[in-house]
Symmetry: C2
Subunit: 218 residues, 2 copies
Amino acid sequence: MNINIILLEAGIELVPKEIVNHPSVVKNAKRRKKKPEDTLLDISLHYHAMKKLENVHKRGRPDIVHQALLIMLTDPMIKGDFYIHTIESKIIRINPKMRPPKNYLRFVGLMEQLLKYGKVPLDSNETLMEVTNLTLEDLMTKYNLALLSEKGEKIAPEELCRLGDNWILGIGAFPHGDFSEKIQKISKKIYSISKFPLETQQVICRIFSACNQILGWP
Amino acid sequence: MNINIILLEAGIELVPKEIVNHPSVVKNAKRRKKKPEDTLLDISLHYHAMKKLENVHKRGRPDIVHQALLIMLTDPMIKGDFYIHTIESKIIRINPKMRPPKNYLRFVGLMEQLLKYGKVPLDSNETLMEVTNLTLEDLMTKYNLALLSEKGEKIAPEELCRLGDNWILGIGAFPHGDFSEKIQKISKKIYSISKFPLETQQVICRIFSACNQILGWP
């Protein structure tokens, strides 16, 4: 079964210039023997430094992307086109063959390499993740975007398995709050699978579970 | 809805005595300004040191427990009695009100404190996790154990939601391989929800999704 997914406004980026000299950023980078600008922004490490940044409630959350990818990329039956749209509007294409590192620190190292060099692994014919030069608008010439939001139209998760290959599910990869206006405008549908706000990985988990149930003895 | 769960043979323990002086263990502890014996065994950090340990394929995987707890403890509708049985046969009781740290490093810090002092937080009336002095046999005087294993009897996940309060679902929290003989012997049932081997968090995710579907508009 094929389900296309894009994680939207994901708080995954390298430490931005404005705070690259902040003591907490420098200290954490030094501990890992890396340059500050080559390390991932992480609110659990850089909370104080991040206070001055714009849009801070959606930033510095690589853990959300990690959780989501662990669910998306370990399902034995569900494949599809998988993308990450970052808070900086980068579009990352994910090879469905990728198996994300289970360990968070290794995942962080991998994403740092991806964001610095544009793809991982560097030394292989088969790219597992790459930063494309696509915009969200480019992608939407290929797919219809169905956002998942607790404010959307009520739908049973199994219905989402049947949308078809020209649809892509847009799932917020930020801790709370709404999608940006821009994203809401380019969406074709907004659906809700629960009256409760769900975490990113819970949304994926429920959709994948429902689709597996359709497949019978999953 | 109530579902009791015990994560079984979880690879979560402090660095054992045999390898407490191994250079990789000492170095990692120093970087975190901790004593080696106060740090969590983690195969992604201590791979070389761990080679000599017994039962190594089930040890050093706090990430599996972290993923599982993130799914178990964020569900808005599903509560129950939650336990972790560790590879050292410790039984940890988890307060369903607990919200595990999303960040892996913070989770590691919390589990180190739990395994060193026996409970967390130390300075509160309300314990969120505690190492009990129970044995698995003690627990089984209260519950019937239903193991989840791909070798078990085929069952639809929604059936597991209806087992009742005197049952507890036993889910392996190790990367692969079988439950120990001892655990298989004390189980009352062995069920399978998929013909594929599933990861710990996937098993929980599918059961919780099925139970939420039963509840209607979840």
